[in-house]
């Protein structure tokens, strides 16, 4: 079956770019770099929406019943919609598009030495579907009775029955938005997997592929293998909402726990879907900034595959108190605690990589180091929750909230800032300002801890989640608890304000920062061998790179330079 053309020289000539209109170049583009920016900017815009929602509901929690500046008094229904959409937006419309679609689209063709993705038009379609899903979600906030308030987990009967949730339009639009987003990422995922498998540069064997690409591809596979049951579940929920079916209605033969299983069968692998690209980004930044190869690269690949596989067997730890058989709970406790082994190993790999390295504390490196420290706290507190006995107390308390923010925040924010500040020169052809980068870093990390450490203590003292006003609960209404709530809220405001220097730094540097050359960080991977920013097609057609070694040849004894690009001949 000789359909594949083995040599690039046979590829049809790329149409020389005749002048394109603004629309064609920026809004209708099939260029993976433009699509990456579309995903990145959409995700960053929605991060601001999600952050604003957090500000509003934390103000309500710290100062119940008062008028929140920029919003007004928060009603109970609004509170529920705010926490629901904060969670949904941050996971589905910030973490996923930025980490996977944004970095994946930008980096994959560049780091494997290809000129674009294998299916550029499907790539464009995936972004358009994603944008549509974001618009549907935002629109859902403004319909009659407001946005969906059934929590991002959308358990029925609340989510299925409009007499319970009282947001009929919001609830349906939320399901539609999520379903559309899933389709967009399935399409995108196929592009990433096939491109990485098939379109590598000549000489790039599987174990020469940079670790961040492995992570993004395995995350895409994990997503594809896990989202199916939830797509089925979303269709079933939609039909329960609109057509009177009884999949989840216990009064008519259905089972609400079925939704929980369908949701969490996806929901747990999903956290590893976003975790893996973050780990990959941090690994790349650390090797470059420590001038040292990643410790045990091949083992790391086996580890992340093992993490992915194991992640399919832990989901019911979200359902320990949902009425499942306690013997099942024992099984899931074992698997949950087991999965901390490969993840913990990754943290050891980072430490071993840094050990003996020649460390440059640039802004990207600061973020990468912070990722390691903060994620460790998140991971360790997960062990407490994974033990079903302890979870009987901790489930649905703020201890859980603190745990998942100590994992999600490093994943979706810290690792992202590490990657953005690291690849900014390649993306925009200019350097970001280091001083403001450090101001932004410290102004984010320090308040971050003062938001969520109080939440651990609130949880230990029994504060349940998803409650609009703790005055109703005398045992939670103590001055100590209240001080913690106020501390968390004030820290959040400080942290949000410190994002302003980042936004200014980003925009000003992109427009008139100092120009970046091809390889400002003196790194080995292929994206640093082309111009900053790369032209359409990434390299001139006749000069597509060929690979001669892995990308970890830093500080090789006997060489004049302390790095050795992959494409340089021996």
């Amino acid at each position: 079956m000789a359909y594949a053309h083995p040599h690039d020289a046979h590829a049809p000539a790329h149409a020389g770019h005749h002048e394109q209109s603004f629309f064609q170049k920026y809004l209708w583009s099939t260029d993976h770099k433009i699509i990456a920016f579309q995903y990145l900017f959409t995700g960053m815009a929605l991060a601001m929406v999600g952050g604003f929602m957090a500000y509003v509901f934390r103000m309500q929690l710290a100062f119940p019943g008062t008028s929140v500046p920029g919003w007004g008094v928060v009603s109970p229904g609004q509170y529920n919609a705010l926490i629901t959409n904060h969670g949904s937006i941050m996971i589905f419309w910030v973490a996923m598009p930025v980490l996977i679609a944004g970095f994946g689209n930008f980096l994959i063709p560049l780091m494997i030495g290809a000129d674009d993705m294998v299916f550029p038009r499907i790539n464009r379609l995936s972004y358009q579907l994603f944008l549509l899903s974001a618009l549907v979600l935002v629109a859902s906030l403004f319909v009659q009775n407001g946005g969906f308030g059934g929590a991002w987990t959308a358990y029925p009967p609340l989510s299925a029955n409009k007499n319970y949730n009282m947001t009929p339009y919001g609830a349906t639009m939320w399901v539609l938005a999520v379903a559309l987003e899933f389709v967009a990422f399935l399409l995108g995922g196929i592009n990433f997997i096939v491109t990485t498998m098939n379109s590598r540069a000549k000489g790039m064997k599987a174990f020469d592929v940079p670790i961040v690409i492995w992570c993004i591809v395995i995350a895409s596979i994990l997503f594809m293998a896990s989202v199916g049951p939830l797509i089925a579940g979303a269709v079933m929920l939609l039909f329960d909402q609109l057509l009177g079916t009884s999949f989840f209605n216990p009064n008519r033969g259905g089972d609400p726990i079925l939704w929980q299983h369908l949701f969490w069968f996806f929901g747990h692998p999903e956290v590893y879907v976003v975790m893996l690209p973050a780990f990959g980004i941090v690994a790349e930044v650390m090797t470059v900034m420590a001038r040292k190869k990643l410790f045990a690269y091949k083992t790391v690949i086996y580890t992340i595959v093992a993490t992915g596989v194991l992640s399919f067997f832990v989901w019911a730890h979200h359902q320990f108190v949902a009425g499942i058989d306690p013997r099942m709970a024992n099984v899931f406790t074992v698997t949950t605690v087991l999965i901390s082994i490969p993840v913990g190993e990754m943290c050891f790999v980072y430490i071993a990589t840094l050990y003996g390295g020649s460390i440059r504390l640039t802004t990207p490196m600061l973020w990468a180091l912070a990722f390691l420290g903060e994620f460790l706290i998140g991971g360790v507190t997960g062990i407490y929750l994974g033990a079903s006995g302890l979870d009987v107390f901790f489930h649905d308390t703020y201890f859980v909230v603190a745990h998942f923010h100590y994992t999600f925040f490093p994943i979706a924010i810290i690792a992202v800032f590490s990657g953005l500040t690291f690849w900014f020169p390649k993306m925009f052809g200019r350097m970001m300002n280091e001083t403001w980068g450090k101001v932004h870093f410290w102004g984010t990390i320090i308040p971050f801890n003062f938001i969520f450490i109080p939440l651990f203590f609130l949880g230990l003292n029994g504060e349940h989640r998803r409650i609009f006003d703790y005055h109703s609960f005398p045992q939670l209404d103590t001055p100590f608890m209240h001080t913690l709530r106020v501390m968390a809220t004030v820290s959040l405001i400080v942290m949000l304000l410190f994002q302003i220097p980042f936004i200014i730094n980003f925009i000003v540097s992109a427009i008139r920062g100092p120009k970046a050359d091809k390889n400002p960080w003196r790194a080995n991977t292929l994206e640093w061998t082309t111009d900053s920013p790369p032209p359409h097609g990434n390299w001139p057609q006749a000069e597509m790179p060929e690979v001669h070694r892995r990308h970890y040849e830093y500080a090789v004894p006997g060489r004049a330079e302390d790095f050795w690009p992959q494409n340089e001949r021996a």
Partner: protein, 191 residues
């Protein structure tokens, strides 16, 4: 953007890109249908009374549809054979025949469902019917999408272009067929 990217033309795995992509699509589809069907099986086991509801499905219609889909898969295979021989026009005609099979499938199903709905067996009529219409409806949606894509592929193939797509849409069609092979016993025979 005219012209293919260099990326599309490479093949580090040795397998043509389009075929690799179709198999990954199938992986994701397996889990989607797997989710619906596993939920259905577990519920059916827990609800023996659904057997009464299930007894009202039209096994003959289901059996005929099975035959129709299997035959259409045969014409898809013959289309692929014609494509490998470089005969785009023949492949296109065989693909159109396959699409006709899909159309017959959908027509039979619409008669079947119209009758059932008239009898009062709507999607709301019970737990079994919720699954019946959802699972078969999801499948029918995939048949329809497959037909549309197949016609586009046929049109291009009739001009002797992109003949490798004939195999790829064939793979997708076989998958849709296999899903039906699961649906037929689960919805029609298990009574």
């Amino acid at each position: 953007m005219s012209g293919k990217t260099i990326a599309t033309m490479r093949s580090a795995m040795g397998m043509p890109t389009g075929r690799l992509a179709v198999w990954w699509v199938i992986v994701s589809e397996i889990v989607i249908f797997g989710g619906v069907l596993v939920s259905y099986i577990m519920h059916r086991i827990g609800h023996p009374e659904w057997a009464e509801e299930a007894s009202h499905t039209n096994t003959w219609a289901g059996a005929t549809n099975t035959l129709v889909l299997l035959t259409s898969s045969l014409s898809a295979v013959l289309a692929h054979k014609a494509a490998t021989e470089g005969n785009g026009k023949k492949a296109a005609n065989l693909l159109r025949l396959t699409t006709l099979g899909g159309l017959i499938f959908l027509v039979i199903k619409s008669f079947e469902w119209t009758h059932e709905i008239k009898e009062g067996f709507t999607i709301q009529a019970g737990g079994f019917w919720s699954y019946y219409y959802t699972a078969a409806g999801l499948h029918a949606f995939h048949v329809l999408c497959g037909m549309i894509i197949m016609l586009v592929v046929a049109h291009t193939a009739s001009k002797n272009q992109e003949l490798q797509r004939v195999e790829n849409i064939g793979i997708y069609w076989h998958f849709v067929d296999v899903v039906w092979i699961f649906l037929f016993p689960l919805l029609y025979i298990a009574k």
